[in-house]
C-alpha cells in the first residue's frame, strides 16, 4: 500500500501523537516549533487528500485492516476536503503567527501543555471530518471540544472562565443530544456506519424513533454549530479567549459541527425519510434568516472589537445554513464556498485583531483611535479582510455572496425576498465593518495610550498573506469552486 492510501488515517494520527510528544520536548520554547511542524504536516496531508479527491472519487480507509461494518471506517470526499483545508489551513496560519502573541499571553511553563491542547483540537476536528462512523464523530467531537475549552480558558483574561463554563455546559448538552440521536438510530438499524445507516433506514418499519433521532441530532449539532438562537456561548468565548485561539476557532470550529449536520441531514435522513428535505428547509431557513438579520444588527452596536466580529460570525453561520436550506445544487455549493471564504475573511480579521491586541491592551473601539498611523500594515490587512467579509467584488467574500444570491433566485417564489434579506444584511455588514475602519483610521488617539510600533514581523507576514489570499480567491476561485460544486453534487446524489 502506498502512502496515499494511509493519508486519511495519518491526517488524524499525526496531530494526536504529536500532542503528547511536544509536552516532553525540551527546552520548552521548542513546543511552538513542534506544534507548528505538526500543523504544517497536517496541512500538507490535507492538500494531498484534496488533490486525490479532486476528480470526484471518495477515499475509503479501514482502520487496522478491518472492513467497514466491523472496523472503524474513514472516508474522504470533496466535501470533507474543503473542510479539511479550512481546518488545517486556519490552524497552520494561526500557529505560524502565534508565537509572539502566545508568549505575551501565556507563561512559558504552561506553553507545552497549551500547544498540546491545540493539537488535540486539531486532531479532533479533522477526526470528525474524516470519520465515516456516527459514534466516532461523537468521540472526536468531544476530544476537540474538551481541548478547546482548555485553549479558551488558557489566557490571562479571567472573564474567559465563566464563558468557557457556559460553552462547556452547552457543548456537552449538544453532544449528548447527538449521542441520544445516534443511540436511537443504532437501536433501529443496528449499525453506526453512515453509509450502512443510509442503506438500512429504508427498511425500518417503525419510523417514529428515527424521526426523534433526526430531531435530537439536528438540534444537538445546531447547538455546537452556534446556529441562531443556540449561539449564546459564542460571543463571550471568542471575545475572551487568547487572541490566536480566536483565530483558529472562529475560522473553523463551528463550521465542522455544521459539516456534520449537513452530512447527516443530506446523506442519512433525506435519503430515507419522506419529505425530510421540506422539514429541514422549514427548520433551517427561518432560523438562518433570523440569525443573519439579528446577529448583524447586534454586531452594529457592539463596542468591543472582538465581540463585534464574533456576532458577525453568527450571522455568517446563518448564510451557510441558508444556502443549505435551499436543498439545491446552487445552494449547497454556495454554502460550501462560503465556509471556505468566510474562514479566509474571518481568520484574516482575527489575525489582524491579534496584531492590534499585541500593542493595545483594550480592544474597545473607542480606545483604538489612530491605530492606522502606527500600525499601517495591520490596518490595511484588516480593511482587505473586512471588504471580503462585506462581499465587495474582487474579494473572496463576493464569490460566495454571488452564488448565494443566484441560489436564492432559483429557490422559488420567495427568492426575491431572500435576495433582499441577503442584500440588507450585506449593508449591515458595511456598517459594522466600516465603524471599525473609521475608528482605526480617523478617530483621534486616546491620550497617552497606544503603541509606538507595528506588531512583530512574524504576525504581520501571516496576516498580510491571508489578506492577499482573500483577493486571490476573489479573482481566481476556480479550485475551491470546483471542490464546492463537486461536494454539492455528492450531497445531492446521496439524498436522492
Amino acid at each position: 500500500m502506498d502512502l496515499l492510501a494511509h493519508l486519511p488515517a495519518l491526517q488524524v494520527v499525526i496531530p494526536m501523537l504529536s500532542a503528547p510528544l511536544i509536552v516532553m520536548l525540551q527546552p520548552r520554547g521548542l513546543a511552538w516549533a513542534g506544534a507548528t511542524a505538526a500543523a504544517l504536516v497536517s496541512f500538507s496531508i490535507a492538500v494531498a487528500l484534496t488533490l486525490a479527491v479532486l476528480d470526484g472519487q471518495t477515499l475509503q480507509y479501514a482502520m487496522g485492516g478491518w472492513p467497514a461494518p466491523y472496523g472503524i471506517a474513514l472516508s474522504v470526499d470533496t466535501f470533507s476536503a474543503i473542510i479539511l483545508l479550512v481546518i488545517t489551513g486556519a490552524c497552520t496560519a494561526a500557529l505560524l503567527a502565534a508565537k509572539p502573541s502566545i508568549d505575551q499571553q501565556i507563561e512559558l511553563e504552561r506553553q507545552p501543555l497549551f500547544y498540546a491542547a491545540w493539537l488535540l483540537v486539531l486532531s479532533g476536528l479533522v477526526g470528525i471530518v474524516v470519520s465515516a462512523d456516527a459514534f466516532n464523530i461523537f468521540v472526536f467531537m468531544e476530544i476537540s471540544s474538551l481541548a478547546s475549552y482548555i485553549l479558551i480558558a488558557g489566557g490571562p483574561d479571567r472573564r474567559a472562565l465563566p464563558a468557557v463554563f457556559k460553552y462547556l455546559m452547552m457543548g456537552t448538552i449538544g453532544a449528548t443530544f447527538y449521542l441520544i440521536g445516534v443511540g436511537l438510530i443504532y437501536m433501529m438499524t443496528g449499525t453506526l456506519n453512515l453509509a450502512d445507516i443510509q442503506d438500512r433506514l429504508g427498511d425500518v418499519t417503525d419510523i417514529n424513533p428515527v424521526l426523534v433521532a433526526a430531531g435530537f441530532i439536528t438540534i444537538g449539532l445546531a447547538l455546537k454549530a452556534a446556529v441562531f438562537p443556540l449561539h449564546v456561548w459564542v460571543p463571550n468565548a471568542y471575545t475572551h479567549a487568547p487572541h490566536m485561539v480566536t483565530v483558529f476557532l472562529a475560522a473553523c470550529a463551528t463550521k465542522v459541527a455544521l459539516y456534520v449536520l449537513i452530512r447527516f441531514d443530506y446523506m442519512v435522513f433525506q435519503a430515507t425519510l419522506e419529505d425530510h428535505e421540506v422539514q429541514f428547509a422549514l427548520f433551517a431557513m427561518p432560523l438562518s434568516i433570523l440569525g443573519i438579520l439579528i446577529a448583524s444588527a447586534v454586531a452594529m452596536f457592539e463596542g468591543h472589537l472582538k465581540r463585534r466580529l464574533a456576532s458577525s460570525s453568527i450571522a455568517q453561520i446563518g448564510y451557510i445554513l441558508l444556502g443549505v436550506s435551499f436543498v439545491s445544487m446552487a445552494g449547497l455549493s454556495a454554502s460550501a464556498m462560503h465556509m471556505f471564504n468566510h474562514a479566509l475573511a474571518k481568520g484574516g480579521l482575527f489575525l489582524a485583531v491579534a496584531c492590534l491586541a499585541y500593542q493595545y491592551r483594550d480592544l474597545r473601539l473607542d480606545q483604538l483611535g489612530g491605530a492606522a498611523a502606527r500600525m499601517p500594515w495591520t490596518c490595511a490587512a484588516f480593511v482587505v479582510c473586512g471588504l471580503s467579509l462585506i462581499g465587495v467584488p474582487g474579494t473572496a467574500g463576493f464569490i460566495s455572496k454571488w452564488l448565494l444570491i443566484t441560489a436564492a433566485l432559483e429557490s422559488g417564489p420567495w427568492g426575491g425576498a431572500l435576495v433582499a434579506i441577503i442584500l440588507v444584511s450585506s449593508l449591515m455588514a458595511v456598517v459594522y465593518v466600516w465603524r471599525i475602519v473609521e475608528a482605526l483610521y480617523f478617530q483621534a488617539p486616546v491620550e497617552g495610550e497606544g503603541p509606538t510600533s507595528e506588531a512583530p514581523i512574524q504576525m504581520l507576514l501571516v496576516t498580510g498573506f491571508v489578506a492577499l489570499l482573500n483577493i486571490y480567491f476573489g479573482l481566481f476561485p476556480q479550485v475551491p469552486l470546483e471542490l464546492a460544486n463537486s461536494a454539492a453534487a455528492l450531497l445531492l446524489e446521496g439524498s436522492q
Binding site: V392, L409, V430
Partner: protein
C-alpha cells in the same frame, strides 16, 4: 506591445505608480511628485496609444480570469470607453500639476496617502472605462468608490468623517442594494453580461420588467447622481479641491453616467428600449433632476456646493441624452461627458485657487476678486459660459448634438428641459460673473494675489481646452460616432 496587453498595462500602470509614489513619499515630496508625473504621462502615452487601433475599427479584448462559468473579468476597448479613458488620463496630468500647487499652497497633511489613493482611483477609472462586461464594470466601480473614500475623508475632522460616511453609505448601499441585483438579474435572464453591440436583452424581458430593471440600474449607479441618489455629491465637497475637480467633476461622476450610457447602448440596446414604453420614465426623471438641481444651485452660497449641484444637473444631461434613445443623442451624450469635464474641472480649479490664495469659499466674498486674480477668474468665466452653453465654448457643441437628437426623436420634453435649464444656468452663473468683475471690493479685505503658479497653469490649460474643443472637436466626434455606427 499588442493592444490586448496594452489594456492590462493601462490598468496596472497607476497601481504600480501608486506603489512607487508611496515608496518615493518616504524619500521626499519632490521625488514623490516626480513619480506622480511620470505615472500620469506614461498613462496618457499608453491609453492614447490605443486610439489609432480604435479608429481603424479594432476592438481589442482580453480575459483575465473566468471567475465562474459565464462570469469573467474581461476588458474590451470600445469607442465610448476609449473616449472616457482618454479624457480621464489626460485630465489626470493637468490635475496632478494643479494638486501639487494646491496641496503645497495649503500645507495639507498626509499628502502621500492623497497621491497614492489618487493613482488607485485612476486605475479603477480606466478599469470602468475598459470593462468588457457588467461584472468587471461592477468590480471597478466598487474599487473606485473605495479608493476615493480616503480622499473625501482626507481632512479627518468630525464633520468630514460624517460627510465621507454619507459618500460611502450612499454609493455602497445603492450599488449593493440595487446595482448588484440588477446585474444578477441580467446574468440570469441573458446568461451573459458582455457588452454587445445592439444589446443582449432584446426579447428576453417583458414590458413592465424592463422598466424595473432599468430603474435598478439607473438608481443603483449612484455615481450618476440621478435624484434622489444625489446626496453624496454635495457631501463629497468636503474633499480637497483637486479631488472635487478630477473625481467629482470627471472620473467618479462620469463613471456613473458612462456606466448608464454603456448599459443602455450595449445591454438593453437603444432600439429595444425605444420600443418598450415602460422605460420612458427615465427621460422624465433626468429632466426633473436637471431642473430641480439647477433650482437648488441658485440658492447655494458656497462656491463648491453650487458647483456640485450644477454637476448633478449636468450629469443628468448625459442621462437624458442617452434616454432619448436616438444615435445623434447618444453622440451628444458622449460629447457632453467630454465638454462638461473641461468646463467643470476649470471651475473647480478656479474655486480651489481662490481658496488657496484668499481662503474665500462663499460667493458673496468674491466681490471684485477678478482684479486680484485675473487669470483665475478669466478661466472661471470661460468655464461658466461653457456650462451655460454659449459659443465659442465646449458646452455649446454637446448641447447642439443633444438638441438635434431630441428634435430627431420629436421629443419636446427634452427640448423644453434643455431650454429651461440653459436659462437657469445663466441665472446662477451670470450673477457670479457680475460680482467678480463689476462690483468693488469691501474695505479691509485681505491683500492677496494669484494662486501658486502650478495651480494657475493648470486652470489656464483647461480653460484653453474648453475653448479649443469648440473648434477642434473633429476627432472626438469621430470617435463618438463610432459608438453608434451600424446602430441606426
Amino acid at each position: 506591445m499588442t493592444p490586448e496587453t496594452t489594456i492590462l498595462v493601462a490598468i496596472g500602470l497607476p497601481i504600480v505608480g501608486a506603489l512607487a509614489i508611496s515608496l518615493a513619499g518616504r524619500i521626499g515630496p519632490n521625488i514623490r511628485e516626480a513619480a506622480t508625473a511620470i505615472t500620469s504621462v506614461s498613462l496618457i502615452w499608453v491609453v492614447w496609444g490605443l486610439i489609432p487601433t480604435l479608429m481603424e475599427g479594432g476592438r481589442p479584448s482580453i480575459e483575465v480570469s473566468e471567475v465562474m462559468p459565464g462570469l469573467s473579468i474581461a476588458f474590451t476597448v470600445e469607442p465610448l470607453g476609449m473616449l472616457f479613458a482618454a479624457l480621464a488620463s489626460g485630465l489626470w496630468l493637468i490635475n496632478s500639476i494643479y494638486s501639487v500647487g494646491y496641496m503645497r499652497g495649503n500645507k495639507e497633511k498626509n499628502q502621500t496617502r492623497f497621491f497614492v489613493c489618487f493613482a488607485l482611483a485612476l486605475s479603477a477609472t480606466v478599469g470602468v472605462a475598459f470593462a468588457g462586461n457588467l461584472f468587471t464594470l461592477f468590480l471597478c466601480y466598487e474599487l473606485l468608490t473605495l479608493s476615493t473614500y480616503p480622499l473625501v475623508a482626507h481632512k479627518g475632522d468630525a464633520a468630514t468623517i460624517r460627510s465621507a460616511r454619507i459618500y460611502l453609505g450612499v454609493l455602497l448601499s445603492t450599488s449593493i442594494g440595487l446595482f448588484l441585483p440588477a446585474i444578477i438579474w441580467t446574468y440570469t435572464v441573458a446568461g451573459t453580461g458582455d457588452f454587445t453591440t445592439g444589446g443582449i436583452l432584446a426579447g428576453k424581458l417583458n414590458d413592465p420588467e424592463i422598466g424595473l430593471l432599468l430603474a435598478l440600474f439607473v438608481f443603483g449607479i449612484g455615481k450618476a447622481a440621478v435624484m434622489p441618489m444625489h446626496k453624496w455629491l454635495p457631501a463629497a465637497m468636503v474633499a480637497p479641491t483637486p479631488v472635487s475637480a478630477l473625481l467629482h467633476a470627471v472620473a467618479v461622476v462620469k463613471s456613473g453616467v458612462f456606466a448608464i450610457t454603456k448599459i443602455i447602448i450595449y445591454i438593453f440596446g437603444i432600439e429595444y428600449l425605444f420600443e418598450s414604453p415602460s422605460s420612458g420614465w427615465l427621460l422624465y426623471v433626468a429632466a426633473f433632476t436637471i431642473i430641480v438641481a439647477s433650482l437648488v444651485a441658485m440658492r447655494q452660497t458656497n462656491i463648491k456646493r453650487l458647483l456640485a449641484y450644477s454637476t448633478i444637473a449636468q450629469l443628468s444631461y448625459v442621462v437624458m441624452a442617452s434616454a432619448i434613445l436616438k444615435p445623434l443623442a447618444e453622440v451628444g451624450a458622449a460629447l457632453h461627458m467630454v465638454a462638461h469635464a473641461f468646463g467643470k474641472i476649470t471651475l473647480f480649479f478656479a474655486a480651489g485657487a481662490i481658496y488657496v490664495a484668499s481662503k474665500k469659499t462663499e460667493i458673496h466674498q468674491l466681490r471684485g476678486i477678478g482684479r486680484r486674480m485675473p487669470w483665475t477668474m478669466a478661466a472661471f468665466t470661460i468655464g461658466a459660459l461653457s456650462m451655460i452653453g454659449v459659443p465659442p465654448t465646449a458646452g455649446f457643441v454637446s448641447k447642439w448634438y443633444i438638441l438635434a437628437g431630441a428634435f430627431e426623436a420629436n421629443n419636446l420634453v427634452a427640448v423644453f428641459t434643455i431650454i429651461v435649464s440653459t436659462l437657469l444656468n445663466a441665472a446662477y452663473f451670470l450673477p457670479i460673473l457680475y460680482i467678480v468683475w463689476f462690483e468693488h471690493e469691501k474695505e479691509g479685505d485681505k491683500e492677496h494675489g494669484e494662486a501658486p503658479f502650478l495651480a494657475v497653469l493648470a486652470l489656464t490649460l483647461t480653460a484653453i481646452l474648453t475653448l479649443a474643443f469648440f473648434l477642434f472637436n473633429g476627432p472626438v466626434i469621430e470617435l463618438a460616432s463610432q459608438v453608434v455606427k451600424g446602430l441606426s
